[in-house]
Structure formats: structure tokens, C-alpha cells
Amino acid sequence: MPFDLTVLTPHLDTLLAGALLTAGVCALGIAAAFALATALGVLAVGGGWAGRLARLYVDVFRNVPFVVQVFFLFYGLPEVGVYIDAFWTGVLALGLVGGAYGSDVVRSGILAIEPGVVEAAKVGGLSRPAIIRRIVLPIALRTAIRPLGSVFVNLVLSSSILSMITLDEVTGTARGVASETYRPFEVYAFLLAAYAGLTYAVSLGIDALHRRLNRHMADNGAARGAAPGAMEGTA
């Protein structure tokens, strides 16, 4: 059989709907992961029980297979009376695991900040939340944003597992179409392109954020050791 994309035409709506669903669950999952990663990253730097708890969370979620977490949320939680539909289970699962991986990245970004910069904000009288929001996170994210991007790309790839909890995301949909049409080559070619497009979109977003966060020259903040001028933004 020659390669013939027109065989997909009758199923295009289904496939595109799947791709859209994947895009939606990933976008929300990435947003949740970003929020959780920053919060956990900040907490994990500190001592005390909050810091220890944050580090414990990260260890637990990084050491359990993603599919097990998904099953636990979708099939386990209803046993104790917590029902979450497949879509929001997907968002939650991606957020929880992405938050765990991302927090490590944020944490090392924070640890690389010149302590004197934070001290200057302290003696200036800024409150702790203001220091975190205005000084610590913007500087930490300058270096953390690229590795965070890799975490987010991995989330997109992991989202294919969500077909196992009845979510009509693009991988599950594609398998259905493939078995219906007996044209796995064309169907999976579409799937490849869909994931490539989604991850490319994530990379573009990360690049834009990176440029924005590094629109000045690297100096006495987190990015010491970078090649001179390498961080110079173009925005």
C-alpha cells in the first residue's frame, strides 16, 4: 500500500479532536506543574518541616511510575469517595509529577543566586513574599526555565499514557483509527507529527520566556559562569 494520507480524511475530525484534547490536558498540566514546581522549589530550599516535606514529596513522585500514579488517582481514589473525571485526573497527574521534577530545577536555580542580592532586598525591608516574587524567582527562573522546558516536553510525551484511563487523547484515538482503517503507517505518521508539533510549541513558549527573563546581560545573579554575552537578550 502506498503512503496515502487521504485515507485519514474520514477520521480527521476524530484525530484532531484527540490532538486538541492532548493539547488542552497538557497546557493545563504544564501550568499546574509550573505553579507546583515554583512553590515546591522555594519550600525545598528552606529548612524546617516544610522544606523536608517538599523534598519528601519530590522523592516520592519521582520514584513512582507515572502510570501507577495515574491509576491510583483514577481507579484508587474513587474507593475512598474521591471522583475526578479522566480529563482532570490527567491534568492533576501531569501537574503532580511535573511539579516534582520541576521543583528540583527551580531549587538549584535558587541555590545559585548570589546571596548578597537577596541580602540587599532584606535590608531594604522587603517582606519575604516580596523577595520571593520579585527577586528570587525571576533570577532563579532565568537559568531554570530551559531545564523546566525539558520537564514540560516530557509531560507532553507522558500524556499518551492517559489513554489508559479512558481519556480520548490523541494516542488512544490514533490506535482506534489505526485498527479501524488498517492504515497504521498513515495514522501513526499523523501521531508523530502531532506530538512533534505540540512539543515544538512548548519549546517556542520556553524560548520566548527565556528571552524575556534574560533580556539583560547576565551578571551578579544566577547566571555566573555563562559565556560573556551568551545571555544577552534580543527582546
Partner: protein
């Protein structure tokens, strides 16, 4: 008034400040001299609340810096200029200066920006408001650091070796600004190795030796043969300083002669 009363600071088993007492009254320019490791920076950090005390008390206009609430108030009264500038690298020069006055003192943005621009102009950086710290020379950065401190309209200015990361030309730039502040009556507590400069602008000089304040004298008495110079540690310290101290004022060799 800044009042340091019997302050003790230890790092592990190492006692860095062994009961230091010192006052800085409004209008005074007090210089802390002392050899490397004598505890000068630690003393400054005890005053601005960056270190917790192991003994004694520090108050700024009666506010006890050991108490978090009072420290927050005290930090509105004093401002610190750092040896390594510690500018916020991700903010423009203007934002570096306006951030704390806006957030902490809650002053209106346009008023703070106008003051910031005036301060920048007064230190010869009128054109740099929109630059980032990484685009400035060390001397320019330190001048921004001074503007950032002054924008808080502080009653007390704390300065810890603010020129020691700068080359002689930049040092001269920054010292000229500090000299002007001193003549304008700005209250300063000043750690420096620029002995000549200290002599010129200080009302008092204190000498820290291994965590103890061994001398606290008006400037002319500090340099008098029967005053500070009677102290062997201080003679030794000043003679070591001599070769590099040519930025401002008379060379130390003349004082020691």
C-alpha cells in the same frame, strides 16, 4: 541613634565579636578600622539584622533589631551599601533604586522615580536609568548602589568596604560622592581600608581588633601620638596600610612621622 551594646557573635566555636559597644549619633560619620577578619563586616551585619546576635543588643532609634517587628521598622531607618554592590541583576538601574521605596515605604511611583533620576544625575549616571547592572562598570554599579540606599531617605547609612572591589579611578569616583554626603550631614557608619579618606571625612574612628573595640576616639585624637597611635596594634595596622593609601588626603607616612 544606633546603639550597639555588648554585642557577641559566634560562628560555631569561633567568637567573632566578643562584646562590642558602639554608638552612632545623628550627624556623625564613624569609621570602623581593623585588620582583615577582625569582625567589621560582621558588626555591620549585626546592625542591619543580617546576623542573629549571640549576646548583647542592637537598637536603631530605640528599635531592637533582634525583634522581627522592630527590625522591619529599623530597616526603614538605615540603608546599606555593599562591597560587591549586590544590585538586582534582572532589574533596570531605575527599578533597582525605586523598588524598596515603592514597596516598603509605599511612596508614590512617580515621586520615587523623580527622586531616583535626580539621585542618578547627582552621581553622574543620568543616562543609565534604563541600563541593567550587567551593562555598567564596577564604579557605576557602586554609584547605583549608593543611589539605591539614598532613595530610602535613610537616617543612617551603613557602608562596608564599598570601594574595595574597585580600581583606584573608580574608587576615587565613589569616594568623592561619599565625601559630599558627609559634608551634607549624612550619618554614616563606614568600614573602609582607605585610611586617608576616613581621616578626612570621619568625626570618629573606632578600631576593631579580633572582635573587640579597642579604641573609639574623635578623628584627630585617633591620629594623635598620645591617642590612637599610642596603641601598638593601631600603629602596626596603619603602617601596613601606608603603601596603598594615596587616594585621598595626606599619605599615612606623614601621619606616622
Amino acid at each position: 541613634m544606633i546603639a550597639v551594646e555588648g554585642v557577641v557573635k559566634r560562628f560555631g566555636a569561633h567568637t567573632v565579636l566578643g562584646g562590642v559597644s558602639l554608638t552612632v549619633a545623628p550627624g556623625e560619620v564613624v569609621t570602623i578600622l581593623g585588620s582583615s577578619g577582625s569582625g567589621k563586616s560582621t558588626l555591620i551585619r549585626c546592625i542591619n539584622g543580617l546576623e542573629t546576635l549571640d549576646g548583647g543588643r542592637v537598637t536603631v532609634d530605640g528599635l531592637d533589631v533582634a525583634d522581627p517587628r522592630q527590625l522591619a521598622q529599623a530597616r526603614r531607618l538605615s540603608a546599606t551599601v555593599f562591597q560587591l554592590f549586590n544590585l538586582y541583576p534582572h532589574m533596570t538601574v531605575l527599578r533597582n533604586i525605586t523598588l524598596a521605596p515603592e514597596l516598603v515605604l509605599r511612596r508614590p511611583k512617580n515621586e520615587v522615580e523623580a527622586q531616583a533620576r535626580a539621585l542618578l544625575a547627582s552621581v553622574g549616571l543620568a543616562g543609565k536609568a534604563d541600563s541593567y547592572p550587567g551593562q555598567l562598570s564596577g564604579g557605576q554599579r557602586q554609584r547605583v548602589g549608593i543611589c539605591r540606599a539614598l532613595a530610602m531617605n535613610p537616617r543612617y547609612l551603613l557602608l562596608d568596604e564599598v570601594t574595595s572591589a574597585l580600581d583606584p579611578e573608580m574608587t576615587a569616583e565613589v569616594l568623592a560622592i561619599l565625601a559630599r554626603l558627609a559634608t551634607q550631614g549624612t550619618t554614616m557608619l563606614f568600614v573602609t581600608h582607605e585610611v586617608e579618606f576616613a581621616r578626612r571625612i570621619s568625626t570618629r574612628i573606632v578600631f576593631l581588633d579580633q572582635g573587640r573595640l579597642i579604641v573609639d576616639l574623635p578623628t584627630d585624637q585617633f591620629f594623635a601620638a598620645d591617642g590612637g597611635l599610642a596603641h601598638p596594634r593601631i600603629r602596626q595596622f596603619l603602617s601596613k596600610m601606608a603603601p596603598s593609601s594615596t587616594v585621598a588626603g595626606a599619605p599615612v607616612s606623614e601621619i606616622l612621622a
